[in-house]
Amino acid sequence: MITGFILRALEGKIVVAVGILLAVAIIVPALNLLTPPDSALHIPTYAMALMGKYLCYALLALALDLVWGYCGILSLGHGAFFALGGYAMGMYLMRQIGSRGVYGNPDLPDFMVFLNWKELPWFWYGFDMFPFAMAMVLIVPGLLAFVFGWFAFRSRVNGVYLSIITQAMTYALMLAFFRNDMGFGGNNGLTDFKDILGFQVQAGGTRAVLFAMSAIMLALCLIVASAITRSKFGKVLVGVRDAESRVRFLGFRVENIKLFTFVVSAMFAGIAGALFVPQVGIINPGEFAPANSIEVVVWTAVGGRGTLIGPIIGAILVNAGKSYFTGAFPEFWLFALGGLFIAVTLFLPKGIVGTIQHGWNARKALKAAADAEKGRDAGALPAAQQAQAAE
């Protein structure tokens, strides 16, 4: 049954995307490690780290697409789940520093020694174990999403109200994590990481593995997301997006459907955060900033929501643009980003991939209609209707 579930996910485009991702996961680290630095094919480490970062963002955008594109929940707080996953990973990495910190305390991270804390707070227990920390990467964002969604969806808070309270959620978390007494390093966050699973975080090999892991996790999450959306459940999901009350009247428990999707999406975001932190080397409360979460929305919108592939492309394109602009014309980046927001909503509401798909479907439908008129293939008509419904 599971294999069937997975196999159904592997529709044409997804297969291509997964294939590309897996190829990238092998080729980029190989080019980085195996070619000499002066070779034309060599990929410098900083570029690989940058691409790794984009892949994490792509995973975050994919997570948002799952709830926004398929379920109609515009979350302006997905940055919070991303940051929580990042903090869980950061806490593991902090514990791995051990006595190599500035204060040389084997149990307490530097900032706790600095704050004069005597013992590790209870919520830091277990984070010295990798499996526990990885479980927390999924559980903490998932639990927050569950509790938040449980209340919100049951009270039928939806539309812009939900967007606004998710924004308030991430804002409140940001304020909370900025506090020193929270025990997460306050303003400075967690940084100065040394080891991950015994390997040096900064070492070239570790970076290559982290990059490959990012690509593989993205591919994996893409398959899962595709499996979800292509299943019967996924059809109901789209129904909830387009006509919530009607789905409810048909006897589905809309709040449970939303809740499940929201939690899965939050876990994706958590994974993205966890992969992000060792590659950039720091996690701080700034990641909770509401503006970050809104930026994720624009990646998704640019690429095309409700397409799964779109957000990945959108996140990579927008972030590559950001890297280029902030280097070349730092003044203009916000103009460009702002303009992008407006242009996409006004002229490209389906995003890049959505528009291409739409054009493709329209052409196919036209052709099918033409064929049907000629009476050669009556079976093509339902396909045309289906294409229209997919719009």
């Binding site: 308030a168 909370a176 702002g338």
Partner: protein
């Protein structure tokens, strides 16, 4: 008996008495007395202070202290300069006849000045005189004595500040002085102050328990932190039998203080609430009435603040005299500027997105980024200085609380805007059109209302009001490109909490959130307080998704 102790062992710690007589009020008092001494007729109260001064030549410190008291009791204001000279160490006696003089150096010699008449008594060599020694206890006694002397000054302000000085540094020595002064006092306010000063001094004297009890009553009626301070200094040395009275008085004052604290907290809360109201009220129109999620709302506030800055710059350069009017001039300017920007945004972006609220949210967020960066490019990322006109600065006390003018005006201002807006919405033809369009666009349109025009004007109105809010907020916040960002989430919270589409809801929401915030702050700290408020709002929305004052009827599903 405590009261029998020499005055130098007075129960009030030196540290408290030392800093009491604030220099300015004191100098003013002294100058007033001096003026009188040199211009008016001699002021004698019977005893001639001259022999008392001469006795200082042989006196030890304790005796000198008593003598200073006696000199002061003569009530002769002419002795003030000599007493000042004494505390400065400029009092000498002639070795030949032990006559005491104030002296000031003239070249290598000293010029002697008669301590009472202030006339010169010739110059002598430094060797011919000896300094009258002074120590800190003595200086303190002198200061108290001077305070007592100015009690009889003809200048009303000088008497008042003298009474205040005694109130702050009571001692048994000044009691008689106060009573003498009190007997002659005619001005009601000064008299009341002197009564209090008398009561305070009486507590450290050797008067009867009944008198002291009455004095405690007087001080308790004085109320406030001042009285608390007096009791706390006095309580250690007070007679056992009076302890319950003091405790009762303290309890009473504490009760009052708590009430005032409460009032002050409510005031702070209202002040914060009015800021929230200002920030949210424009949003209440664009979001609440039109249903547009305007993420650029904060930037409209920021534009208003920058308009104020520009107006002030122009005024500084061209007509500095108008500076006090700068805010009044900035109001219409800001309204027009932001209203125009709002109009352009509505016509250029938002009108294509009606019925797609989530897209509107994204597009206006993009607008906000562009506006922010535009301001940053033009004015730079740093804070701009916006001045406060004179009528906005300073504060005044109201009972036990302090009210700053800028906060007070902002409360007045926000309420004015609120009611003006309410008037426009409910009583004008335009407001009627606007409500008609919100309730049923198609029906309104078929009645001949130009709905696109109404949309554009309404959005411009909401933006213009945000701009006006920016004028007010420029007075209390940093004017920087990020100004708007700090208000946007709060504004949305207020509108959602109060109930979308209801102006009264916005008012109640803003004030209650402001007060709630200020009441949480002292116990949990500012940041945690804010977090708690956010969490409470999130929970509240679960309970009542449509806010405090939800619209009822058909409009709900619109």
């Amino acid at each position: 008996m405590r009261s029998a102790l020499p005055p130098s062992n007075s129960p009030i710690p030196a540290s408290i008495r030392g800093d009491i007589v604030t220099t300015t009020s004191f100098i003013r008092a002294v100058i007033a007395v001096l003026f009188f001494a040199f211009s008016g007729p001699a002021f004698a109260q019977g005893t001639d202070p001259r022999p008392l001064f001469n006795q200082l030549a042989d006196a030890n410190f304790n005796e000198a202290e008593k003598l200073v008291g006696e000199i002061a009791t003569t009530g002769d204001p002419r002795v003030v300069p000599a007493l000042n000279a004494f505390s400065e160490g400029d009092l000498y006696f002639r070795k030949s006849d032990k006559a005491v003089f104030a002296a000031k150096p003239v070249g290598l010699q000293l010029e002697l000045i008669d301590p009472v008449t202030g006339e010169s008594a010739g110059q002598v060599a430094k060797g011919a005189v000896t300094k009258v020694k002074v120590n800190n206890n003595l200086r303190r006694a002198i200061r108290a004595a001077l305070g007592g002397l100015t009690l009889m000054s003809p200048d009303r302000g000088a008497r008042l500040s003298a009474a205040d000085a005694i109130l702050r540094s009571p001692s048994a020595e000044t009691l008689e002085l106060v009573e003498t002064a009190l007997a002659k006092e005619t001005d009601a306010e000064v008299k009341a102050r002197m009564e209090e000063a008398r009561a305070v001094s009486l507590l450290s004297s050797d008067r009867s328990v009944e008198d002291k009890r009455a004095a405690i009553e007087t001080i308790a009626n004085l109320g406030g932190r001042e009285a608390m301070r007096i009791f706390s200094t006095i309580s250690s040395s007070i007679d056992e039998s009076l302890k319950p009275d003091v405790d009762k008085a303290i309890a009473k004052i504490q009760g009052q203080l708590q009430l005032w604290d409460l009032a002050q907290n409510v005031w702070y809360g209202m002040s914060l609430g009015s800021v929230l109201l200002l920030a949210a009220i424009g949003l209440a129109i664009t979001f609440g009435v039109m249903g547009i999620i305007n993420m650029a709302h904060g930037e409209m506030v920021m534009l208003g603040a920058y308009s104020t800055f520009m107006v002030q710059e122009v005024i500084r350069d061209n007509a500095p005299g108008l500076f006090d009017w700068s805010l009044a001039i900035a109001l219409p300017v800001a309204f027009l500027v932001t209203g125009l920007v709002g109009f352009v945004i509505e016509r250029g972006v938002i009108r294509f997105l009606y019925g797609r609220p989530l897209e509107t949210l994204l597009a206006t967020w993009g607008v906000s980024l562009i506006l922010q960066q535009a301001i940053r490019t033009i004015f730079g990322p740093t804070n701009q200085e916006v001045g406060n006109p004179s009528w906005m600065s300073g504060s005044f006390p109201l009972g036990g609380m302090t009210i700053t003018y800028n906060r007070m005006w902002i409360i007045v201002f926000s309420l004015t805007i609120f009611f003006a807006l309410l008037f426009v919405m409910k009583k004008t033809a335009y407001g009627l059109n606007m409500r008609a369009v919100t309730q049923n666009r198609r029906m309104a349109s078929s009645m001949g209302i130009r709905t696109p025009w109404v949309d554009a004007l309404t959005f411009a109105l909401g933006s213009g009001i945000a701009g006006i809010a920016g004028v007010a907020l420029s007075q209390i916040d940093n004017v920087s490109p990020n100004l708007g960002q700090s208000y946007i989430i709060d504004s949305f919270m207020v509108v959602v909490f109060g109930g979308v589409g209801n102006l009264w809801g916005t008012l109640v929401g803003a004030l209650s959130l402001g007060i709630l915030n200020k009441f949480l702050e002292p116990s949990v700290g500012a940041v945690l307080g804010k977090i708690l408020v956010l969490v409470l709002i999130i929970l509240f929305i679960q309970k009542r998704p449509r806010g405090l004052f939800a619209l009822k009827g058909r409009a709900v599903e619109a």
